[in-house]
Amino acid sequence: MTPESVKTPVLELRNLVVEFVTRHGTLRALDGISLSIAPGEVLGVVGESGAGKSLTGAAVIGLLEPPGRIASGEVLLAGQRIDQLPMEELRHIRGKRIGTIFQDPLTSLDPLYRVGEQLIETIRTHLPVTEQEARERAIALLAEVGIPAPEKRIDGYPHEFSGGMRQRVVIALALAAEPELIIADEPTTALDVSVQAQIIAVLKKLCRERGTAVMLITHDMGVIAETADRVAVMYAGRVIEIGPVRDVVKSPKHPYAKGLMGSIPALDERPERLLQIEGSMPRLTAIPEGCAFHPRCPHVIPKCHESRPVLEHVGAGQVACFLHEVRS
């Protein structure tokens, strides 16, 4: 191991289980998520809608909507356990040590307050600065995220900004207190394609400059390939493959990951048709026994029906699939 990877990870999830207690019984939405993000690293989290990507992000910052709750497992921020902290202490971590970017920049900002007021209140909530210092800092942040004439725009209302510009403001808000980790939940999904690349570039540049780690939740494989250092692929509330981005994108090991990567159209080759995974992801109420993917898997073996595969080291990454266990 290199000394780099020995460092305490910024974020570590150990066997995280999130459940929803409903009238019809307890639903297990996240089932034993384990992953870690090193300082300055960008971890992409991919998967279909409903795989549990956003839920993982919400669980980390303690903002699961009731009746969702962390049933077991641990969340560690720089080695310190945060999943059992009282609400008020967790609040100090949100915004200060973990910044968050949500999907829709059009609705993330409070329409009734000036952009500057929202930046200044965030800065002053977390840092002991005066109003004037906070304002200067806010202007500097807006300049950094690439908003032209920030000393003028700071007094504008959100509706006076375009979608892309608003997402830049949201990034500025997430970075306001110099967090160690940013959770970016589909940061480009709601934006025009031409703006997406700009937003990703801004996010990447700022995080690299500050050494901020990023958990990049998206279903856009292009964004992942471009931005992430490592990728975690999620399916039905479980991580089924995690590894360096090159390996997972170019030579995925898990049959589901293969299917997912095969569904990306490439410009240089023209296959007859895109690969398609038969069937759809199971609902939370009907997750099959054993490997959750077995009903759709083209390589299913008897064992898949009975027991559940765990993440095992395969090459530089980890895969939860019996096919690879057998081979190794």
Binding site: H92, G95, P111, L112, T122, H159, L173
Partner: protein, 325 residues
Amino acid sequence: MLAFVIRRILQSCMVLLTVALLAFTMFRFVGDPVAQIVSLDTPAEEVRKVRESLGLDDPVIVQMGRYLYKAVQLDFGISYQFRQPVIELLAERAPATLELALISSFLSLAIGIPMGVYTALRRDSLFARVFQSISLVGVSLPTFLIGILLIYLFAVTLGWLPSFGRGQVVTVSGRWSTGLLTASGLKALILPAITLGLYQMTLIMRLVRAEMLEVLRSDHIKFARARGLTTRAIHFRHALKSTLVPVITIAGLQLGSIIAFAVITETVFQWPGMGALFLKAVQNVDIPIMAAYLMIISALFVTINMVVDLLYAFVDPRLRATIKG
């Protein structure tokens, strides 16, 4: 901004004109006022004279034109029953109604908004449930029944408060007779104000609660939480302000209807206001008073509406842009 105000004033004039025409034509069919003025054995000649002097045998369109022309000068004619200018009668009664309505609205906002916020934030607490149940009573009980129940309890049984009238009034600056400056005036105001404001209060409480619950689920509140803002800042700086935008509209419109529907409360408490005057006018087919009352109420509604629109823009910057343009 100015263009907006001018446009709204023009629109308001159209509304008022329509109301005036409607009111006037409608009252043509209510009954024959001359029959009320003269007695049964009045000679036909005299009846004709009265009719003529009131201008009632001119074509309807002429009467209407004459009425409108005078109305814009605030001359609503002479009351058939009191033989006094209508505008004087109304001006005499207006302070009673306005004081009652304003105090009721103030009470309903001052109590309704905090109760709504409380029931939204502490949704499952005992008090929130109690408030919710009480509000159901407030919304569903008719005003006159609430008034009578209050009179029975506080005036008849306990004898704490007067059951009717305005108490002692003082005249300020020559015209305005107020009951707010004497102890008996204030005491007399309590029951009618509660009766008139209870429905509005519960309505506002339920509205604030529903709106606030909605806002608390919205994305910008979620993001405010993710930014690590204090609970107080999230609830009162962000959520409450968003909640109040629609509440302003309703509260404004309610002020209009509080004034208009004071009729019932004024009757129950024999409150000497415009509503009681209107009711008496209806009984006596006193067309000038009825028409003037309708005109004044609609003018109030229209004005309040305009003020609400301006307030709206004051709170919500997105609308400011629309109004400027």
